[in-house]
């Protein structure tokens, strides 16, 4: 089975108090942040590697971004990807549609049975990219997948919906899935693995390689403003002995009608 996994690099924003909006109010200030592979994409990669280990075939990791995004492709190569492609592009002003156009052009020239995306990204979180690419490629897709099993010519998948409801599908290949967290436990990538991956070839494509130009990439939506929410009422820290604190907490919950 030939698999393509599309991944992106996101800022590590685990510390909310570290997030600052840049003066143009279109992006966050990134100079003090560390970066990593998008969480959902890591699960997608792990799912792809497990399928490849079980069924054979190839795994190609693709990203659209500037040069420092190579690091997520190196991780993908260290995890078990055979090929890595980066389409060189500053995507900071792109919407999901623009990136989908680029990916569709690249993927349609490759041989594949299955395309995997993370269900959404940690930074902008639109959750649109995978479904858009599937529509553009004209292949079946299922989003929010928490189970993925494959056999000759088809995949069995389960989608996790509200209130824990599950939808099961069998989908003919080629197909595209967007993978949810919890589908597996992504493996640890050792520093030795990453260093070994530095020796592997990483293909860099210019926009015109798949016949695109900046002029043809017009976003469908334009970000007007990025801002932090206004500060709400301060949280109350309940002090005192455990018995008093518990009594106070019980009163707050009771007054709020929680019990």
């Amino acid at each position: 089975m030939d698999i393509i996994a599309c991944i992106k690099r996101v800022p590590d924003t685990s510390e909310a108090d570290f997030i600052k909006i840049d003066p143009a109010q279109r992006d966050i200030e990134k100079d003090r942040l560390a970066f990593k592979i998008n969480n959902w994409d890591e699960y997608a990669l792990e799912a792809a590697v497990q399928l490849k280990e079980k069924l054979g075939g190839t795994l190609t990791a693709i990203t659209v971004g500037p040069e420092d995004w190579n690091e997520v492709l190196r991780r993908a190569l260290a995890m078990g990807a055979d090929n890595a492609i980066r389409i060189d592009r500053d995507v900071s002003a792109d919407d999901a549609y623009t990136v989908a156009v680029i990916l569709e052009r690249v993927i349609q020239r490759l041989s594949y049975d299955l395309v995997l995306f993370g269900a959404q990204s940690e930074d902008f979180g639109s959750g649109q990219l995978g479904a858009m690419v599937a529509e553009m490629l004209g292949i079946s897709h299922a989003t929010l997948d928490t189970v993925l099993e494959a056999e000759e010519g088809k995949v069995h998948t389960q989608r996790e919906l509200e209130a824990g409801t599950l939808q099961s599908y069998t989908i003919e290949l080629p197909a595209l899935l967007t993978v949810h967290t919890g589908i597996n436990q992504p493996r640890y990538i050792s520093l030795r693995g990453i260093r070994s991956a530095m020796q592997k070839e990483l293909q860099v494509m210019a926009l015109d390689d798949p016949g695109l130009s900046p002029e043809t990439l017009v976003p469908m939506v334009k970000l007007e403003k990025l801002e932090l929410p206004p500060k709400g009422k301060e949280a109350e820290l309940i002090a005192g002995a455990p018995e008093e604190a518990a009594e106070r907490l019980a009163k707050i919950l009771k007054d709020a009608g929680i019990f």
Binding site: A34, S190, L191
Partner: protein, 393 residues
């Protein structure tokens, strides 16, 4: 990897599980392996883990989450190595670390271990907190950046980021200031020392950290290092020379011992308490420094030092070594080593449990709360005891 490729493939079979690795002193008790004490199953003792490792490498058992948890529950406390009577004892802990290393290379480590190591790859500390916050602990202390002073005061990850560890780091800084010691710190430029990384089996990441730290220290002209943590002390003293990092490394209790002895630090304010001292593994069994912390306590007026039944090379690990202060594979039970240890401390009649390690401090303080012993036993770092004795609030 097969048994043939495993570095200790020709010796691992020699463990016949005599059980000495679990002894504190002799056969009267078998609960001095922290993981065995917690789970009371042979598989969690050093001998059990060696047999499991051998079976795994020979293909008799498959890797599983449970197997990984068992191997990573080893805190690298070195009780097994010190108590094993056989000639290959020098390598029994290394056998475990090598098995963890194989799991690292396969990517098959418990998820908290993955998180721990990825956080260090990304932010230089196990908590995943930004590197740009590493120096926040020193705000308002007047502690200077290192610029050629006599000592580099290396604080470490727990002292830099953990709230309780930060308190200790600040107090030790104030004690050193009070004693007129010429020292500076690295603040945001400090990186993880790598001691736990090595014990978790991530050898390449450890090598990178050691190389970077040695290059940084040498670039700054550092010759003497004083550490807050015995973990930093251990790796800088014993491992960094292998990376051409020859520094004069002291644990802070060793420096304080000399300062008090030579009259450089006035502790006449005293500290009135009955104190029992918990030996940290990386100061005690790993480096056989049992005297300096006790000498500091004994020279502090008002301190009445009493010993726990298990002490020095027979001390029970707090359960925080081998990254377990973060990955926490030994918690959640009255049998967790930290809870056992604070009960043992209480039995001495002491009202203060003194430690000399920020990892032990956080582990044992949490255990005191879990045991409901807050009214009977306070956990204090020796730096805090000395700080109070020399009038630092």
């Amino acid at each position: 990897m097969t048994l043939t490729d495993y570095k200790y493939g020709d010796v691992i079979h020699r463990c016949f599980r005599c059980g000495y690795c679990k002894f504190p002193i002799n056969w009267m008790d078998v609960n001095n392996c922290p993981a065995y004490a917690r789970f009371r199953m042979e598989t969690y003792s050093c001998g059990g883990r060696l047999w499991l490792t051998r079976a795994w490498l020979e293909g008799e058992i498959e890797w599983s989450d449970h197997l990984a948890d068992i191997l990573y529950s080893c805190t690298a406390c070195k009780n097994c190595e010190v108590k094993c009577p056989l000639s290959f004892n020098i390598d029994i802990l290394n056998m475990m670390i090598a098995a963890k290393g194989e799991m690292v290379e396969r990517g098959e480590v418990p998820s908290p271990v993955k998180e721990f190591l990825e956080n260090i790859q990304r932010q230089g500390n196990p908590y995943g907190t930004s590197r740009a916050k590493r120096g926040e602990w020193m705000e308002g202390t007047g502690i200077e950046a290192y610029q050629g002073q006599e000592f580099l005061y290396y604080v470490g990850c727990v002292g830099s980021y953990d709230t309780r560890g930060q308190e200790t780091a600040r107090i030790l800084g104030k004690v050193l200031q009070k004693a007129g010691v010429s020292f500076g710190v690295l603040g945001n430029d400090e990186n993880c020392d790598g001691n736990e990384v090595k014990n978790l089996g991530e050898e390449t990441l450890f090598e990178m950290l050691a190389e970077e730290n040695v290059a940084q220290f040498q670039g700054l002209g550092v010759q003497k290092i004083v550490t807050l943590s015995p973990h930093s002390y251990n790796t800088m003293k014993n491992d960094y020379p292998g990376f051409n990092g020859e520094f004069e490394v002291s644990h802070y209790t060793q420096l304080l011992q000399g300062l008090i002895r030579d009259g450089g630090l006035d502790v006449s304010g005293g500290y009135n308490a009955t104190v029992t001292y918990h030996d940290p593994c990386f100061l005690g069994r790993w480096n056989e420094e049992y005297n300096a912390p006790r000498a500091v306590l004994k020279s502090t007026p008002g301190v009445q030092l009493v010993e726990m039944a298990r002490n020095k090379d027979g001390a029970l690990c707090c359960g925080g070594g081998g990254g377990n202060f973060y990955i926490d594979l030994l918690g959640g039970s009255a049998d967790s080593p930290a809870r056992r240890r604070v009960r043992e401390a209480c039995e001495t009649g002491a009202n203060v449990l003194a430690v000399a390690c920020p990892n032990c401090l956080t582990m044992l303080e949490d255990a005191v709360k879990a045991e409901g012993l807050e009214d009977k036993l306070a956990v204090k770092d020796i730096a805090e005891i000395v700080g109070e004795a020399c009038g630092i609030k």
